[in-house]
Symmetry: C2
Subunit: 262 residues, 2 copies
Amino acid sequence: MPSVLKKIASLFRFYNEKDKRLAIAILQITGRRPLNLKLYKLAIRHASAAEVSGSGKNGNERLEYLGDAILGAIVAEYLFKKFPYKDEGFLTEIRSRIVNRESLNDLARKIGIGELIEFDAKRRVHYSHKSMYGDAMEAFVGAYYLDRGFYECKSFVLNRLIANHFDLEQIVQSELNHKSRLIEWAQRENKQVRFEVIAEQGSNHHKEFIIQILIDGEPAMTGNGFSKKKAEQAAAAKLLEQIRTAAAAAAQQQNNNLAENK
Amino acid sequence: MPSVLKKIASLFRFYNEKDKRLAIAILQITGRRPLNLKLYKLAIRHASAAEVSGSGKNGNERLEYLGDAILGAIVAEYLFKKFPYKDEGFLTEIRSRIVNRESLNDLARKIGIGELIEFDAKRRVHYSHKSMYGDAMEAFVGAYYLDRGFYECKSFVLNRLIANHFDLEQIVQSELNHKSRLIEWAQRENKQVRFEVIAEQGSNHHKEFIIQILIDGEPAMTGNGFSKKKAEQAAAAKLLEQIRTAAAAAAQQQNNNLAENK
């Protein structure tokens, strides 16, 4: 046995087999061994698994709340330093492209957190569209922060997550025109899309618009903004997100059906 | 001269008079001397002052973006540890009561950052309602973080800001019923207030409501939520915030008029 494996086996010798597997996975994901394994166990415990196991156990929602804030701060500083001549609007926009639910879902699957998640399998379909993966990704960052402190957590986020899994240049370049993407989607799906102003509020200097999107005449989403264009973009962005998560849930459902029919 | 003052005078001996005053103020506010004074100078430079001084200089908006994220993370962890048995909804709510614009405005004035802010005096009235103080408060936290690192910044926020200026028990107890507060306000001001559902969207399981508040029949604000009650609360909260900032701006205007008439 190579000496590094011997060392790991020795470090984890007091764990049972399941915990040993988890500890090794954490070592692989973060590059550091877990000091307090309980934190990570909580991070990968989805609410559905917590409910099944009885009222004594909680899910990862509290750690998700913490991880979300820590991740936001780390990415905020990273972009602040990376783009010294860009204004805060740009920094906020790029940050939201990095830490949005969809990209965190992808990230959790890529780095192997997806496979670790404990959840009630019966409810998988129901929960999958609710971004179980992205939630666990944030909770994992929260756990790592509590386990190893701010600077090791920052180094994990920057060196293992951002550097390996995000193409910053592409993120910056990608045009963010939600309205035209939505119109393209509607054309593909052979649906009619309409944008309507349903309300205006505030003074002349600071007027806010509420836009509603109608798909085949049915109200589908609203958005607010201090110009009609911004309100349209906001509404289209939210609706695209909803369409994407619905599509992901449908794909998951199909996978499950295939698995059952095997 | 007491030895501590001698030491301070010696530390700051290369600063000009203006910088010396700023350095002493920072020492009083944070308990630590500034290592990189430029960061703090930027933190207290409002966009209006930056515009006047010419295009070469920026305002504090970038630091505000950074400080907002750092402050959010520090308060998130503080509440996470303070309330081990509360769920993430509670933690999020209490955090927003601590770091909202209004409370940061107050905080900046209380700890003396308000007096340090550089702005274009001619535009004071115009800017005051835009929460110049709270913005500078966040930018200051961003500057302190860059100057002294995460753990000293955390200690500053927890020991100098939260512990001294927030009554957590009272914050938790304070009932958050925006709708009834708005109705009380309307009665005092002799105005009619009406809540109307202007749109519903989403599936049956996940229906979102858009509520519009009308003041004397005029559309004043909208709010979204996954129940009518939540949408009403959201709309009322936003409208109360608008009423408060407008009142603060009016009070400031009155002060300025009094000063001019002297």
